[in-house]
């Protein structure tokens, strides 16, 4: 950890700087370096870098951090290696929110509606497992799957009968994109991600005990049921906000913790921080690919993460 963390921080910083040199405008790495160390060659460069590229790069870093960190947390808290941040139907809920705001005569910005939809899915899952049964991880997982399918069904129904152009917008939104990144979005996402990470990091000693078994954690005096619900709510808040602005970016939360575990182990503090940083750098470079792979056109980032994720798991399968 003493080597890994500084190394990842350097990689993250370098990634931010280097990735700023990629984009549609003729503004390469040399020009970016000049802007950072001295003064931009043209005033327009400064505007492009500060107003267009920097928020997008920062958004990629923060969103990647949030998805990978919450993925690691969800996997640890549920002791399920296939858990991911979207376990509680958050994407399905956000998709429904976005669909309603786009297709129905409701005047509401997509991110806000998506956030409300994501919250709805979390509330439904919590309501489904209320009372004593929320102590059982299996109930939470099943409730998440059920709510996810239910909300997706409603979304599909609305899209099927909706106006095609609006339906297209929703479908593209659901594929994920960082194109909405701006400082206003960052002002919402960054504080929530920092607060959520700080809360869960402060609980890391307790969270580690869950890795053995719930009963083992209880015999060490850990309030297992309350702890799990608290962490799930924090993860849901972080994920809901990310999904609201960026749509459903799949596989990051599922894949990154699996990539990181062999190097830093399982315990929460190390796993959360390293997963977050690796996730941030990963998404940043995937976004560069999404922006530059096809000239003049952007590929939805969720498409690329899913392709990489799919191949990664096939690779993992061959090694096991």
């Amino acid at each position: 950890m003493t080597v890994v963390l500084p190394l990842l921080l350097v990689v993250a910083l370098a990634s931010v700087l280097i990735s700023m040199g990629f984009g549609a405008a003729e503004l390469g790495f040399g020009a970016v370096w000049q802007c950072v160390t001295d003064q931009c060659a043209k005033p327009i460069y400064e505007s492009i870098l500060i107003d267009v590229r920097l928020p997008r790069v920062l958004m990629a870093l923060v969103v990647g951090f949030a998805l990978a960190a919450t993925g690691a947390l969800m996997q640890n808290v549920t002791r399920n290696p296939l858990a991911d941040p979207y376990l509680f139907g958050i994407v399905a809920g956000a998709g429904l929110g976005a669909t309603i705001s786009t297709l129905l005569p409701v005047s509401m910005p997509i991110p806000f509606a998506a956030f409300l939809g994501a919250l709805l899915s979390v509330v439904l899952v919590m309501a489904a497992v209320a009372n004593r049964s929320w102590q059982r991880v299996e109930h939470l997982l099943l409730a998440g799957v059920a709510v996810s399918f239910l909300l997706s069904a409603v979304t599909s129904f609305l899209l099927y009968f909706g106006e095609p152009f609006a339906a297209n917008r929703v479908i593209f939104w659901m594929m994920g994109s960082l194109a909405r990144a701006d400082y206003e979005a960052l002002s919402w996402v960054i504080p929530v991600v920092i607060t959520g990470s700080a809360i869960t990091l402060s609980l890391s000693r307790w969270l580690d005990t869950l890795l053995v078994s719930d009963e083992s954690a209880r015999t060490l005096g850990v309030p297992v049921a309350k702890l799990r619900i608290l962490v799930l709510i924090v993860c849901a808040a972080m994920t809901a906000l990310v999904v609201a602005y960026c749509g459903g970016i799949g596989f990051v939360g599922l894949m990154i913790p699996h990539m990181v575990r062999p190097f830093v182990g399982l315990t929460t503090k190390r796993l959360l921080i390293t997963s977050g940083l690796v996730g941030g750098c990963f998404l940043l470079w995937v976004d560069v690919l999404a922006r530059t792979l096809i000239d003049g056109q952007e590929i939805p980032i969720g498409v690329i993460t899913s392709v990489i994720g799919g191949f990664f798991f096939l690779h993992l399968l061959r090694r096991v």
Binding site: Q75, N76, R79, N80, P81, S202, L203, R205, W206, D208, T209, L211, V212, S213, E215, S216, R218, T219, L220, G221, V222, P223, G265, L266, T267
Partner: protein, 260 residues
């Protein structure tokens, strides 16, 4: 006899109206080992779970140093009672040192970091249980005996005065069965341990509680409890009880199924 440390007073616990622990009273004395024996399904594990507060009793009370554990916080209970239960392998395979370190949890607030004294306590526990060379090994890769020793090391770091163990000798060969129980006896803790092997119970326990069909049949010294009559009526096997030539403790030789 030393002073009572963990006591059950007429405790009952059940599921859907069926009593699994039925009016059981017993007491574990300081620095002594209390063995819980009984046939499969007698309610030994449930009784232990009541004793460490995993199951909230329906009636009666569990007293730790004279205070009901129902009135204590889970953290306070964990500072005094350590548990080594039967483990299922976890999907996420922690290292030995990660598990032993968890013993610190009941003594640490959330923002407190580990101190040099903590590191020393962990090192000492690992040394005491011969786990130092294995400290970076994964828990799932250990043998059954090593896993038990790892969990006992965790309870040493936990600084608990009472150790509750559920069938720690299960699946262990003769060497490890004796090794584990010998180690436990050397630790100077109040131990409550459920065992299947009556000869091991006779050899290592100061007191034995015999459980059958959720009820306490007898409690007392091995000589008082492990009688031919008790064993015949509870385990339905014929047996001869005499004195072990090596240990001087009770020795039970089984003759086979007892037809009453």
């Amino acid at each position: 006899m030393s002073k009572p440390q963990l006591a059950a007073k007429n405790i009952c616990w059940g599921v859907e109206g069926r009593k699994i622990v039925d009016d059981v009273s017993l007491c574990a004395h300081q620095n002594q080992t209390l063995g819980i024996v009984g046939p499969n399904g007698a309610g030994k594990t449930s009784l232990l779970k009541c004793l460490y507060g995993e199951y909230a009793v329906d009636g009666g009370e569990v007293l730790l140093d004279g205070i009901s554990i129902a009135e204590m916080s889970a953290r306070t209970v964990a500072q005094s009672i350590a548990v080594v239960s039967q483990q299922n392998p976890s999907v996420f395979d922690l290292s030995v040192i990660d598990i032993v370190k968890m013993g610190l949890v009941p003594h640490k607030s959330l923002f407190e970091s580990d101190t040099a004294a903590d590191a020393q306590a962990i090192e000492q526990a690992l040394t005491e249980l011969d786990l130092l060379p294995l400290k970076h090994r994964s828990f799932n890769s250990l043998s059954g005996g090593e896993q038990q020793r790892c969990l006992i090391a965790r309870s040493l770091v936990q600084k608990a005065s009472v150790l509750i163990m559920d069938e720690p000798t299960n699946h262990l060969d003769i060497y490890y069965q004796h090794q584990i129980l010998q180690r436990i006896n050397e630790l100077n803790l109040t131990v409550i341990v459920s065992l299947h092997d009556l000869n091991l119970a006779a050899q290592y326990c100061d007191q034995i509680a015999l459980i059958d069909q959720s009820k306490l049949i007898a409690v007392g010294s091995p000589e008082q409890v492990l009688t031919e009559e008790n064993i015949r009526s509870v385990f339905k096997v014929s047996c001869v009880v005499d004195t072990h030539p090596l240990t001087g403790k009770r020795r039970i030789s089984y003759g086979g199924e007892y037809a009453s």
